[in-house]
């Protein structure tokens, strides 16, 4: 028998006093979301079809529609393709690397007894380091001549590359620094690991499963929702990467260090908006990135139906 529609169900909730109270508490968030997120998104969508720039900002000329001109320019500008390519390559390096390292750290923390809290703090600290500081650190730690990374590699007989000068190694350098700050992901995965029922491991052990089999067939499926969440969030973060790369390679006085290998999409968007004052075009760039992010997220959600297991769900 068909029940009430979802909308009717939602409206029916307002019969309860608790519903009103709940909405009163979340109105500040709704307000913030509308004013600081949804509102600017809608304005930017509008501006992406206009000639919005310096003159319009200063109120000297009115904003005029240019139709799809900004979007067509996305196809004509070779830097759009190259910056997107840089961004994708970086994301492909950073996301799996961060998840793997975070998972390894989380699994290590589960085995440590009394000192787990101390090490959890140590592993989490890079996550709260300001990104600008990380950008500056990149140039010092990865300097090809005196950087500590190459000195360490030298002790084990490896001649390290020129991480911050060689275009081939700039993206891996930034990815490594981002992976270093995997504390947030580690904490999420640690919580997921604690949620895996012990009896599953015991049952698997009794059936003769090796450590690898237990990891593959018990741990991974049980933490797959957390892995999926991290994958989505990190992919979106990777597509929006800006601060560390901008600080290290495009900051003030860095004309001699700018490398097109570090020109990520968000950096090029920022340059178009705030150096060249092409706000309309920058808005179109933002919506292209949104479309790409949305597409990738939907693909991930589709793929997740195969690989993500939610406890209690029934697979058909």
């Amino acid at each position: 028998m068909p029940g009430p529609s979802r909308a009717r169900h939602w409206f029916a909730g307002f019969r309860e006093r608790e519903t009103w109270i709940a909405y009163v508490f979340i109105i500040p968030w709704i307000f913030g979301f509308v004013v600081l997120t949804l509102g600017p998104m809608l304005f930017s969508f509008y501006y992406s079809f206009t000639n919005y720039g310096l003159q319009q900002i200063a109120g000297i000329e009115s904003t005029k529609s240019v139709g799809l001109k900004n979007y067509r320019q996305l196809l004509d500008d070779p830097k759009i393709a190259s910056s997107l390519k840089n961004t994708f390559i970086y994301t492909v390096m950073m996301v799996p690397g961060k998840i793997i390292v975070a998972l390894l750290l989380a699994m290590t923390l589960m085995r440590i007894g009394k000192l787990a809290g101390f090490f959890r703090t140590i592993f989490y600290l890079p996550h709260i380091t300001p990104p600008v500081a990380v950008g500056v650190l990149v140039l010092y730690l990865f300097n090809g001549q005196i950087g500590i990374v190459n000195k360490g590699l030298g002790y084990i007989g490896i001649n390290g590359p020129y991480w911050t000068s060689d275009p081939t190694w700039i993206k891996p350098t930034l990815a490594i620094m981002d992976i270093w700050a995997c504390g947030g992901t580690m904490v999420i995965l640690l919580a997921a690991l604690y949620g895996v029922p012990r009896q599953l491991y015991e049952a698997a052990a009794m059936d003769g499963a090796s450590a690898w089999r237990r990891f593959r067939d018990v741990t991974l499926p049980m933490i797959s929702p957390a892995l999926f969440f991290c994958f989505i969030i990190l992919t979106l973060a990777g597509l929006n990467t800006f601060t560390q790369a901008y600080t290290a390679f495009f900051g003030a006085g860095q004309a001699g260090s700018q490398s097109e290998a570090a020109l990520f999409y968000s950096i090029y968007l920022f340059q178009n908006a705030f150096r060249y004052f092409n706000m309309g075009f920058a808005s179109a760039m933002a919506w292209l990135l949104f479309a790409i992010s949305l597409t990738i997220t939907f693909i991930n959600i589709g793929v997740s139906r195969r690989f993500v297991y939610y406890q209690g769900e029934q697979r058909k």
Partner: protein
């Protein structure tokens, strides 16, 4: 039924309230507590700075003692300035880098100040004033002027047994040979001393000027990045970097240098000679007054001195509410008296502390002349005395990049192209052809 309508109305009211707030905030202009009541001047991009800046600001304030002057902290930032333009909280007077002036003037954001500067413009350097000019109108007054000279590490030349006369830029073949002789490496092949740093991409326009050419036309509307002279200049300067170990080693080593500290490249013998802006003499004289340097002119192919200016300038936004006081302030803060007052106070402070005074180099020719003649005295450091003499003479050989409505984009295209060549990703010709296309597209879109 009526209860159902009440519930719907309540929910709709919540949504409508959020929508109204959004629209209200989007259209709101702040009740500006910076509105120009008579006698209020809001300045942007001139936050607290060193002694020279503060003394000049104090002098200018005295000249406008009926005006309340607001000087928030911080230097000019495009993003912050755009935010102020968008919000209606437009400053009355702005200090910005001179390359930006034409970019903002082309969009009508700034107001011409021809009438304001008419009585004083003859005091200012022609090149610097030209950088404040767009389509025949002067948009403000230039402030500081950095100029480029060669800094020669005499110790390095002695160590390499190369005569100082070899520190020259007229003869490129000899320059390359000198650079190679002065370059030192350790047993791992890492650089310990760069023989000559051509300072590209930053000073690339100076290398093109060696041929007597410019990277942009005088009216700022035609990019000239791929002229045969520019290609030749880039090919040569990159060959110096390659001869000294290649870009990776060169850049990695250069990133380790601390130009502003006591362990600067002269003290640590990390550089043989290189072109640099004039402010560095002040830094070196403060941090390492006994360093063994020689200042020389950068010369063109005929041996004539050339130097490139850069600096900042004062402009007045079109929406300024107090253009009268803005005009008076900019004239006061860049006046001969302001500069002399600041220079004298710096000289006295340096003398008290036993440090060296190397002068103050401005866009006001009259001020520079008087500073040198009336205030400057030798501190017994002949290397800095000679540097000062050179710096006083250098401006007459100077040029500044012509103002362009797409100035930033032209420079970005140039920097990106040169960096591609340094990284071995493109040939000089291909890189500059690409840079030319990008720069000209930007200029066409901005004019």
């Amino acid at each position: 039924m009526s209860r159902g309508w009440k519930r719907s109305a309540a929910a709709l009211a919540v949504v409508a309230l959020c929508g109204v707030m959004t629209v209200a905030f989007a259209n709101a202009k702040p009740t500006s507590n910076t509105s120009a009541a008579a006698g209020t001047l809001n300045i942007y991009g001139f936050g607290p700075g060193d002694d020279v800046q503060e003394n000049r600001a104090a002098y200018a304030k005295e000249q406008l003692n009926n005006t309340t002057i607001n000087r928030p902290a911080g230097d000019f930032n495009d993003q912050a300035f755009l935010t102020r333009l968008a919000s209606g909280d437009v400053p009355d007077l702005v200090r910005m880098g001179r390359p930006r002036v034409a970019q903002y003037a082309a969009k009508g954001v700034l107001q011409p100040m021809d009438a304001c500067v008419k009585s004083v413009k003859s005091q200012y350097r022609v090149g610097a004033l030209r950088a404040m000019t767009y389509k025949g109108h002067i948009y403000g007054l230039p402030e500081f002027t950095n100029q480029i000279t060669l800094i020669v590490n005499q110790s390095a030349f002695k160590d390499a047994r190369v005569p100082i006369s070899a520190a020259q830029t007229k003869n490129w073949k000899q320059l390359l040979a000198t650079a190679k002789k002065l370059t030192k490496k350790d047993s791992n092949g890492d650089l310990t001393r760069i023989g000559f740093d051509p300072k590209i991409p930053e000073f690339f326009p100076l290398w093109v000027k060696w041929y007597g050419k410019d990277i942009i036309s005088k009216n700022g509307l035609k990019a000239q990045l791929n002229s045969k002279e520019a290609i030749a200049a880039l090919t040569f300067t990159v060959s110096i970097v390659n001869a000294e170990g290649g870009w990776n080693k060169f850049n990695a080593f250069r990133q380790t240098m601390d130009f502003f500290g006591k362990q600067n490249p002269l003290v640590k013998d990390q550089l043989g000679f290189w072109p640099m802006e004039s402010f560095i003499y002040n830094v070196f004289s403060n941090n390492s007054p006994d360093v063994d340097l020689v200042a020389k002119f950068f010369t063109n192919r005929k041996g004539g001195p050339i130097t490139m200016f850069s600096g900042n300038g004062w402009v007045v936004p079109k929406a300024s509410k107090n253009a009268t006081d803005a005009c008076a302030y900019m004239k006061a803060v860049t006046s001969v008296k302001a500069w002399l007052d600041a220079a004298k106070k710096r000289y006295d402070a340096r003398k008290r502390s036993g440090a060296t005074f190397t002068g103050v180099y401005t866009a006001n020719t009259a001020a520079d002349k008087k500073t040198y003649e009336d205030i400057y005295q030798s501190f017994g450091k002949p290397q800095f005395d000679n540097a000062v003499k050179l710096l006083v003479a250098a401006p007459k050989y100077g040029f500044e990049l012509p103002p362009s409505p797409a100035g930033q984009q032209v420079l970005d295209a140039m920097n990106a192209g040169i960096n591609r060549v340094l990284a071995g990703q493109q040939s000089p010709k291909a890189a500059l052809n690409q840079a030319q296309k990008e720069a000209q597209t930007a200029i066409n879109g901005a004019k």
